[in-house]
C-alpha cells in the first residue's frame, strides 16, 4: 500500500477520536476523494472501530460479591478511622501550610549556612579607641565606647567601659576588673543562639525601617 503522508493518517485517527476540527475534516475528505490507498486505509480503520465498539462486555461470576466479602481482612477498621487522616493526605489538603513549612526550612538553611560558613574573618563595630591584636579586640582602660559593640569570629577583652550592648559571636569575652558594661552582654556560640540573634536583629531592622517610613 502506498504510504500517504502521515498527517492524513493522523487526521483519520483524530476523526475517529472525535477530536478533529472542521478544517481537518475538510482536508481529510478532499484527500480521500482523490487517494484510493488512503480510502482503503480509512475503511479498514472504521471497520476496526465498529468491531471494537461491538465487543460484548464480560460479566463477573454471579458469586463474585460474596467471594470478595469473605476475603475481606478480618480485623475491621477502628471506628475512629476517618478522623485519622494519613500524613500524605494532610499534606495534600493544606498546601499553604506546606509552603510555609518549606519556606522556613529553606530560610533556616540559609541562616545556618551563614553561621557555619559565612566569613570566618574577624569583624567588629568600629568605634574610636578600640585596639585590635590578631583576632582579639581590646577596649583599653580609660576608653569609653558610647555605642553598642559587636565582635564576630574573635575574642573581646574589656578593660574600659562600654555604654551600649556587647555581643560576641563565635568567640569569647574576657572582662577585666575595671570593665563596665552598661547594656546587655552576651556570647553567642550555639546555633540556636545565633538564630535567635539573627531573628532579633532582622526584626529590629524591620521595625526601624517602618519607623523611618512613618517619620517621612
Amino acid at each position: 500500500m502506498s504510504k500517504c503522508s502521515e498527517s492524513v493518517v493522523m487526521l483519520m485517527h483524530e476523526y475517529l477520536d472525535g477530536t478533529i476540527d472542521r478544517a481537518g475534516e475538510e482536508r481529510l475528505r478532499e484527500h480521500l476523494e482523490t487517494c484510493e490507498a488512503c480510502r482503503l486505509h480509512f475503511k479498514q480503520l472504521e471497520r476496526v472501530e465498529t468491531l471494537l465498539q461491538n465487543v460484548q462486555p464480560v460479566n463477573a461470576p454471579s458469586d463474585f460479591t460474596q467471594s470478595v466479602m469473605q476475603r475481606l481482612p478480618e480485623s475491621p477498621k477502628p471506628v475512629s478511622r476517618p478522623t485519622v487522616v494519613p500524613f500524605r493526605q494532610k499534606l495534600r489538603r493544606h498546601p499553604l501550610l506546606v509552603a510555609v513549612a518549606i519556606f522556613f526550612v529553606l530560610m533556616s538553611a540559609t541562616l545556618f549556612s551563614t553561621y557555619e560558613g559565612g566569613s570566618n574573618e574577624l569583624a567588629y563595630t568600629n568605634e574610636p579607641g578600640l585596639v585590635v591584636e590578631g583576632d582579639t579586640v581590646i577596649v583599653p582602660k580609660d576608653v569609653v565606647i558610647e555605642g553598642d559593640l559587636v565582635v564576630e569570629n574573635g575574642h573581646l577583652i574589656v578593660e574600659g567601659e562600654v555604654q551600649g550592648d556587647v555581643t560576641v559571636v563565635k568567640g569569647t569575652k574576657y572582662m577585666a576588673s575595671t570593665a563596665v558594661i552598661t547594656g546587655n552582654d552576651e556570647e553567642i556560640d550555639q546555633w540556636f543562639g545565633w538564630l535567635w540573634y539573627k531573628l532579633k536583629t532582622s526584626i529590629a531592622t524591620l521595625g526601624n525601617s517602618e519607623e523611618n517610613v512613618a517619620d517621612q
Binding site: V48, L51, V55, A60, V68, M69, V79, P82
Partner: protein, 193 residues
Amino acid sequence: MDEQLNQTINEVLRGNDEAFADIVTQFQNGVYHVCYRMLRNAEESEDVAQETFIRAYTKLDTFDQKRKFSTWIYRIATNLCIDYLRKKKPDYSLDATVPGTEGLDMYSQLASSDDGPDDELVTLETNDTVLDAIDQLSETYRSVIILRYLKELPLKEISEILDIPLGTVKTRVHRGREQLRKQLNDLNKGELL
C-alpha cells in the same frame, strides 16, 4: 463525584463492612471485564478482580471523594493486572515472533492449529477475531484500547487511570488501532473489509 456512593463509602469507613458489598456489586462487572481482557484467563481474572476490591477496601480512607470512584478503582485494577503480567512472565512470550516466519507469532501458529467449529455464529466469530487481535497487542496498547473501547471511557479519564499524559493516551490509541487494522487485514486478507 457521586453523592450516594460517597455516603456508602463513609458508612464503610465508619465500620459498616456490609455496605462495602454495594460498592462491589456496582463495580464488579466493569473491573472483572478489564481484568479479563488484560489477563485472558477467567480464573486469574477473578483472582485479580477480587484483589482489586480488597485493595480498595483497605485503602478506602485514601480515596479522595471529590474524584470519581470508577477512575480510582480502574486504576487499582489496571495496576494489579500489569503487575501480575510482569510477575508471571512466561518462559516464552506469545508476542514474540517465531524465527523464520516473518510477521507471524505464536498466536497465528496456535490459531492455525484449531480451525474453529463451523456451527459458530458469524457475529460471534467477528467478535472473537477482534478479541484475538486485542490479545495480541502489547500490554501498553492493550490497556488503553480496553479502557477506550470496552469501557468506553473518555481519553481524559484513561490518562488519569493509567497516570500518563493525555497526548500519550492518544498516541497509544492511534498505534493500537493501526496494529489491530493490520492484524485483521492480514488475518482476513481483505475479505472482511
